[in-house]
Symmetry: C2
Subunit: 285 residues, 2 copies
């Protein structure tokens, strides 16, 4: 285990990476907001296997938070994150300040149009424009050969794939399957905000998604009926609130009325003051 | 004079340019919509002087035309353009089809917010979003060291500079002064749409802009008064219509009420069915 270089300046990172590129060595990139967990570790491991060098960015991007309290409360654990990166053979941790990334309020941003209309996009105005914009900036700074994203953030992954295609960004996007706890809970930096009692309730979202998979396998294809039945599996508990549960096609994330091909079933659920998301992919059996 | 390679495919161009980059040779990029004239030639000459290789793109970008008739009528002279590029030592002419650049309608685009609110942006809805999006795509495809833009398109140049800064695009933007005819008319691909009679009337726009320069030098700093006096210099002629004449600060292109520092004075004027633009830079004397 060698210590990764922690770089906070854009030009410093560019300079270091330019040397690697001149030597024609491949660069894998894992953009994160820190508070690293096993899900991120999986992304880094895949990047490590594919590429000669790995860059992990740690930046809690203010542009993608629609609520100030959520931004303030987002876990920040840089010291521990750098340790984890070191143990996984990461070469560079890029940890810029907000002032380094946004010296002035950006006028030019990446808009995502209809891809942000549904799922989380419907509940977090401007969120995916903020995500697309910061990821575009990071792509321009790192100029990696490949970038790694978790499938847990399905809408984010679909939007990044589309952005790369629409704007011809020279990077290969690699989606990595969601890492789950033993009971199925998707790993998330936000899980550490849950109390023990909340943690046990959090599994309801994954169970609801799985119920859709089973109902499709059993022959139910009507989206409204599937969603209704799935929502009914969520326990009546004042600490839990299902924000949405929706079935969409995997390309443009538009809602389907009937399941006749591959779909993404995605949901968001509040447990106390913590918002969790999850999704599964399935298709008509 | 060697013939430039004419490339129509994105991947073919990427492949050819990757070789140059591996050899650490510099690439200059001149994006155009074709119908090349002396103004473009100046851009190419500057690029030629600065860089080891020069790429000229020729693409009439449908995304930036708000009017279908204007898109259809825009001059297209590929054969002559390639000749000119050859005579100027261009290495690659990139001339993609619309289907190559937009295989599907783009969902992710570059928005320019307030930078598109005034000047031409106020009269051509979506125009600068289309410009920023196609230039971003071309930057991603060519990955040049430097890109060259004419100062004649002042709003475009300011927006591209801002896009590169806001999104950290690794390219240096070089602005090149407007090339003018003997009487001062700014060179434009659209000039070739003018009849001889219209050509002689077209100079009124530049004369109006110059009158603002003189009035500022003479001590007038009130923007409204300056614009009023300049508009009054435009001959009363049914073939001529001033679309706008505006004084803005050079960074974010917001209108000023008083000239207290450097400004851009910009205008658009219709001569018959042809729309011409021009601008000058000046400052309080």
């Amino acid at each position: 285990m060698t210590k990764p270089a922690v770089v906070t300046g854009i030009e410093a990172l560019r300079g270091a990476l330019a040397e690697l590129r001149r030597a024609d060595e491949s660069i894998g990139f894992v953009p994160t907001m820190g508070a690293l967990h096993e899900g991120h570790a999986r992304l880094i491991e895949v990047a490590r296997r594919d590429c000669e060098h790995v860059v992990v960015s740690i930046f809690v991007n203010p542009l993608q938070f629609d609520r100030r309290d959520d931004l303030d409360r987002y876990p920040r654990t840089l010291g521990a994150d750098v340790e984890i990166c070191g143990s996984l053979g990461v070469d560079f941790v890029f940890a810029p300040s907000a002032a380094e990334m946004y010296p002035t309020e950006p006028a030019c941003v990446v808009d995502v149009h209809r891809l942000g209309d549904h799922l989380c996009g419907a509940f977090r105005p401007g969120h995916f424009r903020g995500v697309a914009t910061v990821v575009m900036k990071l792509f321009q700074i790192v100029q990696a050969d490949r970038a790694y994203f978790g499938e847990k953030d399905a809408q984010q992954l679909a939007i990044i794939r589309r952005m790369v295609r629409d704007l011809d960004v020279p990077v290969e996007i690699v989606g990595v399957p969601t890492v789950r706890e033993g009971d199925g809970l998707a790993l998330s930096s936000r899980n550490r905000l849950l109390s023990a009692g909340e943690r046990s309730k959090a599994i309801a979202l994954f169970k609801a998604l799985e119920s859709v998979r089973h109902a499709i396998a059993a022959g139910e294809h009507d989206a409204a009926a599937l969603v209704r039945a799935a929502a009914a599996t969520i326990p009546a508990d004042p600490a839990i609130r299902l924000e949405y549960l929706q079935i969409v096609e995997p390309e443009e994330l538009q809602p389907v009325s009937a399941v006749t091909g591959p779909v993404i079933v995605a949901g968001a659920m509040w447990v106390g003051t913590t918002r969790l998301i999850d999704n599964i992919r399935t298709s008509q059996s």
